[in-house]
């Protein structure tokens, strides 16, 4: 049974190195990581700054998603972290890592982990553009 190595909703900087270390294992031959980084533009508009807001249940839901993916795939360990609060352009908002004996499982589980976190985690993204306007992403 796969291990859930590290799952964190945090205001601290999150890094691929930390996630990778959290899933490292002598039995795993393959480690796949994902980093979703904050960009300075969105749909052609220039982003000045942004922040994420997390619901109090976000940590629990992130743990549930990690457990589901760990149970579904033939992997060794999974780890995932989502940052909230203000984030500087270029820094990571979401980082994930999966280790497995074989690379196909590691790639597939990491893809699904990222997809499911993005679908399920109760977190919101607020962007302030360089023209002074702002937007809550996905909220028309």
């Amino acid at each position: 049974m796969a291990e859930v190595g590290l799952v964190r909703v945090t205001t601290d900087v999150v890094t691929v190195s930390d996630m990778s270390a959290a899933v490292s294992s002598q039995t795993a031959g393959a480690v796949v990581t994902f980093s979703g980084d904050v960009r300075d533009n969105d749909h052609g508009r220039s982003v000045a700054s942004l922040a994420y807001e997390a619901h109090p249940t976000a940590q629990q839901i992130l743990e549930d998603v990690a457990r589901q993916v760990a149970d579904k795939y033939d992997v060794v360990a999974v780890a995932v972290a989502h940052r909230h609060g203000p984030i500087a352009i270029g820094e990571a908002a979401l980082v994930a890592a999966v280790s497995a004996k074989h690379r196909t499982q590691a790639f597939e589980a990491c893809m699904e982990l990222v997809d499911e976190v993005k679908a399920q985690i109760p977190i919101w993204k607020h962007q302030i553009f360089t023209d002074g306007t702002d937007e809550w992403v996905n909220c028309a």
Binding site: G36, Y52, E53, H55, P56, T57, H82, A93, L94, V114, V117, K118, A119, Q120, I121, P122, I123, W124, K125, H126, W136, V137, N138, C139, A140
Partner: protein, 79 residues
């Protein structure tokens, strides 16, 4: 006692406050009271999902009792 309505993200921005206190009733009556207190919510609510005491609730006729907490969640945008 009464009911606490917690507003997040775009819902908070639209209402101008992060919490409202309204009367017990149904989810529908609670949300109607919330819109009365924060009229800006009217454009955001149709996109929102709701939690009753941190458990998902979809049925508008669900009973909301004194002491309950209703969360108003705009569409998620994690990642």
């Amino acid at each position: 006692m009464a009911v606490t309505v917690r507003l997040f993200a775009a819902a908070r921005a639209a209402a101008g406050v992060s919490e409202l206190v309204v009367s017990a009733g149904t989810l529908e009556s609670v949300l109607a009271d919330a819109v009365a207190a924060g009229p800006g919510l009217v454009t955001v609510l149709p996109q929102c999902s709701f939690l009753l005491n941190e458990v998902s609730v979809r049925e508008k006729h669900s009973v909301v009792n004194d002491g309950d907490v209703v969360d108003v969640l705009p569409p998620f945008a994690g990642g």
